[in-house]
Symmetry: C3
Subunit: 132 residues, 3 copies
Amino acid sequence: MQRQTIQSPAVAAPRFRYSPCVHIGDTVQLSGMIALDPGTGALMAGGPGAEAAFILAILQRALPDYGVTLDQLLIARIYTTRMDLFGEINAAWEAVFTPDVTPPARTSIGVSALPLGASVEIEFTFVQERRP
Amino acid sequence: MQRQTIQSPAVAAPRFRYSPCVHIGDTVQLSGMIALDPGTGALMAGGPGAEAAFILAILQRALPDYGVTLDQLLIARIYTTRMDLFGEINAAWEAVFTPDVTPPARTSIGVSALPLGASVEIEFTFVQERRP
Amino acid sequence: MQRQTIQSPAVAAPRFRYSPCVHIGDTVQLSGMIALDPGTGALMAGGPGAEAAFILAILQRALPDYGVTLDQLLIARIYTTRMDLFGEINAAWEAVFTPDVTPPARTSIGVSALPLGASVEIEFTFVQERRP
């Protein structure tokens, strides 16, 4: 059982030298995601709400490749340069984590800058239960 | 062994859709905590030092519900909008992590905004040792 | 298998009450590192690129003491007050994570302040594969 990196065609190719998804033991760790179109590599227009919705859509498309489900999501860390528009981000979140879905832990932080001019970045950590 | 979310009456009910404490496998992950009074839901007055002390007090009250102890604390991540008053936050920290207590890892970051106008947010990750 | 803290002479002694490296179960968690000279305790001069290179050099010197290798690096979280000079930080990163090395996950965040006036802080999480 060694470290594995997992690629998904749903996620834009990295512009820098990092692995979008790393799997070691029980843990599946994603790099912080910004709203990059996997086709063009360009940042999604439309502001924080649109970016958050796009990140969550990309995540959901990549989950089968990453071998995890939202039920295994431990925590999401949301970073935004527009905490004043956090309501938009939260609305995108609540469209996925509806009342019938148990949500993960979440930490939300207002920051001064994000890569490539993004206004939202979300980092996801999954833990797979170990079957005895 | 599946993902479990754990509630504690010591912690203010979430205002957004997230789980304050998530347990999967060996890991007990808390959402970033701000100094919300569990009775009123209002942010604690008094500035960074008072907020940090309140968060640490709430944490300690919730630990029995969460099934972990400070000996199992892997890391605390401290986010503050008032890095200029970090001494206050650190004094609250040192009132809990006294010289006779082995402290966890810690990462401290100055940020531009936090939810609900808080000046301090702390995220805690615990790992339970696995008994063979 | 209990929580252990690990010291390395390669890393500057903490100025605050935290453990630079905590090992529980499969996880080896480092505290956020800034470019402190382990001899003098002073912050490395030279700006973001020099700080990032110094942090990565210190990390590599400490790895044998910490009992992990770069192959076990799950994620690096880079915080910087100078996102405008991220290219410098990334150049230091790519000097270590060369094309023949599988890189970890990475999250990069622009922040408003870091401890002791640093312009770069990096937090590393390792997971050791469990041998069956």
